[in-house]
């Protein structure tokens, strides 16, 4: 009798409450409601397990919690306090209960009948969480196919202290099923870059890193210019890495590709923030190399009549053709190009081919602003032995290596050029269009870019640019080539919907309520959307094709030295 009583007590304390269906609020195949016993604490995003038919379990994600009482109205509560006199503690506290709504994730026996009223509900354990999310199917797939594909993407931590590793299915991150990862959230709070580098390291450590190359664009200060250097971690920080089954270590085989600057000739240092890594390559944009990429350089300039397009064609032909036409033979520097024939003579712009002089003049004004007046130093007349190009460096892509391309101190036009150059080079390599020597390429290349909205803006109709075309190409077809885009931006609504739509995994950090009203977030349930405004730094919402609902995860701090 004593053991039964003890078991009964244990059962009562282990269970959170019971499912509750009412006349006006029924349970459904999509969601169920349960009341919680006094003292029980649950939070949104906790995963619970409800007893169900045929000894099965239904798993649910808590989306919201309500406090319900028997007060008929607020007026009743007001009157209960002596008509607003604010009495002390009531003699009998009003009967109330906390009621949680949970969105159905899965059932252990594929029974999707509504959870029956009075079914006991408890926190799910780690195995239950994995079953709920569909991660158990990943394990079965691993065993069946004899390969690793579960990539740790963060820790799910619940109110009862239990937790579980949230895994992503590599076939949905790197392909072939689907690919690409996007993260958004308020700058400074959403920890987008830290998460992406963590996810990349997790991918490299879990899968065959020798088969994967990584390209990171550094857009902010020197955040990613020390990723090869270890950082001393606190004990609890290391524990999270260990819990995830990952090594807390910096990136290895890192190549830094930093921009040439105005003072680089004199100092030998790149145009970068902070102290540059000892071993780095400096890239620049010489005239002929840039001429072949003018579409990327002027991609943000409206050109409805395609006059700039025609101009680009003339220039690319003039400078790219070997041997050159006679009128282009004297052009060997940017100064020659911008202030000499065939484009400019006697102080005036000249007609070139079918392009009228005034259009040539407009082209020259734009080019002078970008490559002369406001340039950061990255444009050079000729490549010296101390300089390289993006194409040269990225063209040597190797599996197991990480390439950091710094653009932080470049002008916006230059950043667009470099980003476009990187993408075009990678796409050319994998699509077989590259002029570079054919060789064995890594099967996958991950390209991480921040501020994706600059290159693939949401409202680009009528303003399609080569950059946007490139990004869309990779978003829609990249996975079949092995090109995977890891992207980030502050506002999901600011990014082209076809890019977001093709991103299989979406990660959301803290977001403000005005942004959340945009239809870009319609894939989230209303209750879940509201919680995005309250995420703490380091907390993220992870949406993955295998998961039936987004889950909240925490991830470890970077194990590499952070920027200054």
């Amino acid at each position: 009798m004593g053991d039964e009583a003890a078991q009964g007590r244990e059962s009562r304390t282990a269970h959170l409450g019971r499912a509750s269906a009412t006349e006006h609020d029924s349970n459904s195949a999509e969601e169920f409601t349960f009341w919680t016993r006094p003292g029980a604490r649950v939070n949104p995003f906790d995963i619970v397990e409800a007893e169900h038919l045929a000894d099965s379990s239904t798993y649910g994600l808590i989306t919201n919690i309500y406090h319900s009482t028997d007060a008929a109205s607020h007026l009743s509560n007001f009157i209960s306090n002596d008509f607003g006199e604010l009495l002390g503690e009531p003699n009998t506290p009003r009967q109330g209960t906390n009621v949680a709504k949970a969105s159905v994730l899965s059932n252990s026996s594929d029974i999707y009948m509504p959870v029956q009223s009075e079914a006991r509900v408890a926190f799910a354990n780690e195995d239950g969480i994995h079953r709920a999310l569909g991660i158990d199917t990943m394990s079965e797939k691993e065993e069946r196919e004899g390969r690793k594909l579960r990539v740790p993407a963060g820790l799910i931590q619940m109110s009862n202290g239990e937790g579980a590793i949230a895994y992503l299915d590599a076939d949905y991150v790197l392909g072939p099923e689907s690919a690409h990862v996007n993260v958004s959230g308020i700058s400074g709070l959403a920890t987008k870059t830290s998460y992406m580098t963590f996810l990349i390291q997790s991918t490299l450590q879990t899968l065959n890193a020798e088969d994967i190359a990584v390209i990171l664009l550094n857009v902010k200060f020197d955040d990613l210019l020390h990723i090869h250097e270890a950082r001393e971690l606190q004990h609890d920080e290391k524990a999270i890495w260990a819990r995830l089954g990952l090594n807390a270590e910096p990136f290895s085989n890192v190549h830094y590709i930093l921009p040439w600057g105005q003072d680089s000739q004199r100092t030998g240092r790149p145009n970068s923030f902070g102290t540059p890594p000892a071993d780095c390559q400096l890239y620049a944009y010489p005239l002929e190399y840039t001429a072949a990429r003018l579409d990327l350089l002027l991609s943000q300039v409206p050109d409805p009549a395609d006059t700039l397009g025609a101009m680009r064609g003339e220039v690319m032909q003039g400078l790219g053709q070997q041997p050159r036409e006679s009128r282009w033979q004297g052009v060997s520097s940017w100064h020659d190009f911008l202030r000499g024939p065939p484009l400019f003579k006697d102080g005036q712009a000249q007609r070139v081919g079918n392009v009228q002089a005034n259009s040539v003049g407009r082209f020259l004004r734009l080019m002078r602003r970008v490559v002369s007046t406001r340039q950061s130093g990255v444009f050079v007349d000729q490549l010296s032995s101390r300089q390289t190009t993006i194409e040269n460096e990225i063209g040597e892509l190797q599996g197991g290596h990480t390439y950091v391309v710094d653009v932080a101190r470049l002008t916006p036009d230059e950043q667009t050029l470099v980003f476009g150059d990187v993408l075009r080079t990678v796409y050319g390599l994998y699509a077989g269009d590259s002029p570079l020597d054919e060789r064995e390429l890594p099967s996958k290349v991950i390209v991480f870019v921040d501020e994706l909205n600059k290159y693939a803006p949401a409202h680009a109709r009528g303003m399609e640019t080569p950059i946007l075309d490139q990004v869309l190409d990779i978003a829609e077809r990249g996975r079949s080539f092995g090109i995977v885009l890891f992207s980030a931006q502050q506002f999901l609504s600011a990014v082209h919907p076809r890019v977001i739509g093709n991103s299989a995994t979406n990660v959301l950090g803290r977001t403000d309520s005005a942004e959340l009203s945009d239809r870009a977030y319609r894939f989230l349930a209303t209750d879940i959307r509201g919680h995005l405004t309250r995420l703490n730094k380091g907390e993220l919402l992870l949406s993955h094709p295998i998961y039936r609902q987004p889950v909240k995860v925490r991830f470890p701090v970077p194990a590499y030295r952070l920027g200054s």
Binding site: A71, L75, S76, S80, N81, E89, N91, T92
Partner: protein, 359 residues
């Protein structure tokens, strides 16, 4: 003329049953003298005693019934209305922190017919059949009890009364059952008048608290030529919030025990639209027939005043005088009842014969 509580209300065929029972059990409408140790004042202020200061009321008992007329039984020339009643009672315990939990719930289904209108054979057959059904009682509406007169002569009204009487019996049983373990500081509050069932109550302390009560009471205060008589309205008109009236006796002919009662105003009248609103009638058994200690009446009244928070406002028209734990007990009972649909579905009607008549 005083307006009805809550302005004009639809008057049913019978008025409030609590008021009926109060009148039926209260004997004569007139009460003579004051029945407490301090007899000098008609009204006394009370000091509110919240639970946090002294947890006096720990048990609450209430009952509820729901009676359905389901048909008429015909036995050759005899006939009787057939009623089905759900009778329930519940005991609620309140802990030191204010939390409530159920200590006892009773739920009975009762089949009510007029035995005097049917044959003995049929009645015996009914009893036999019912004995095989769990939780089903068969009772005769013509069976006399102390308050049969409340039901009058109309069989269906008597059926409703019978159900109510069974409810009171269930309440008393709960009160008796939970006597052991209760100390002199563990008071039980029964909803409504204690009637005469508790006249010889010898258990731990108990009071009845009535939300509605007979309106024809008269009170004779004093003796001799200076004696004055007050009706209920006259008495309560001068009863202020947080005050109680003097204690009065309710005697029963031929019995030395008595029930002492008084009135307490829980809420200020200005916020309520009827002079009797916010007033409860408190009844306490005096098995030894002696006057109530005035301090005890003050303590009970002070604890009752504290019970005004929280209220079931919006859920019950009697919220102003309804103690919340008692209302919870009522909810517990109602929640244990079958819904009308379930009850109706549980009633099996005989198949009609070849001529289309019910067998």
């Amino acid at each position: 003329m005083l307006p009805a509580a809550g302005q004009t209300i639809v008057d049913g065929a019978r008025p409030d049953i609590e008021e009926l029972y109060d009148r039926a059990t209260g004997g004569e409408a007139q009460s003579e003298g004051i029945w407490e140790t301090a007899t000098t004042t008609l009204y006394r202020p009370v000091v509110e005693i919240p639970r946090s200061e002294r947890h006096l009321f720990k048990y609450f008992v209430d009952g509820s019934t729901k009676t359905y007329f389901i048909g008429t039984i015909l036995e050759q020339q005899r006939s009787s209305p057939v009623q089905l009643a759900q009778v329930g009672a519940a005991g609620i315990q309140r802990d030191i922190d204010g939390g409530l939990h159920t200590v006892d719930v009773r739920h009975q289904i009762v089949l009510l017919l007029d035995k005097s209108a049917l044959s003995e054979d049929l009645w015996e057959q009914l009893q036999l059949t019912a004995s095989g059904v769990e939780n089903l009682l068969v009772r005769s509406t013509s069976e006399e009890d102390e308050y049969t007169a409340i039901g009058g002569n109309e069989p269906r009204a008597r059926g409703a009364h019978k159900a109510n009487w069974l409810m009171r019996e269930a309440e008393l049983d709960i009160a008796r059952k939970h006597r052991p373990g209760r100390s002199s500081d563990d008071w039980l509050v029964a909803d409504g008048s204690v009637g005469n069932e508790y006249l010889d109550w010898d258990g731990p302390p108990l009071i009845g608290v009535a939300k509605t009560f007979r309106r024809d009471s008269r009170f004779v205060i004093g003796t001799g030529p200076r004696a004055k008589t007050l009706n209920l309205y006259g008495l309560l008109a001068s009863l202020d919030e947080g005050h109680r009236t003097a204690v009065f006796p309710r005697r029963r002919e031929g019995r030395s025990q008595l029930i002492a009662f008084w009135y307490v105003r829980l809420r200020p009248q200005r916020q309520l639209d009827y002079p009797l609103m916010g007033v409860v009638k408190v009844e306490i058994p005096c098995p030894d027939g002696s006057p109530v200690e005035s301090e005890l009446a003050d303590t009970i009244s002070g604890a009752l005043v504290a019970e005004r928070s929280v209220t079931p406002h919006g859920r019950d028209s009697r919220w102003h005088a309804h103690l919340y734990p008692v209302w919870i007990a009522e909810r517990v009972i109602r929640d244990s009842f079958y819904s009308d649909e379930v009850l109706k579905a549980a009633i099996r009607w005989p198949e009609p014969d070849e001529r289309g008549r019910a067998a």
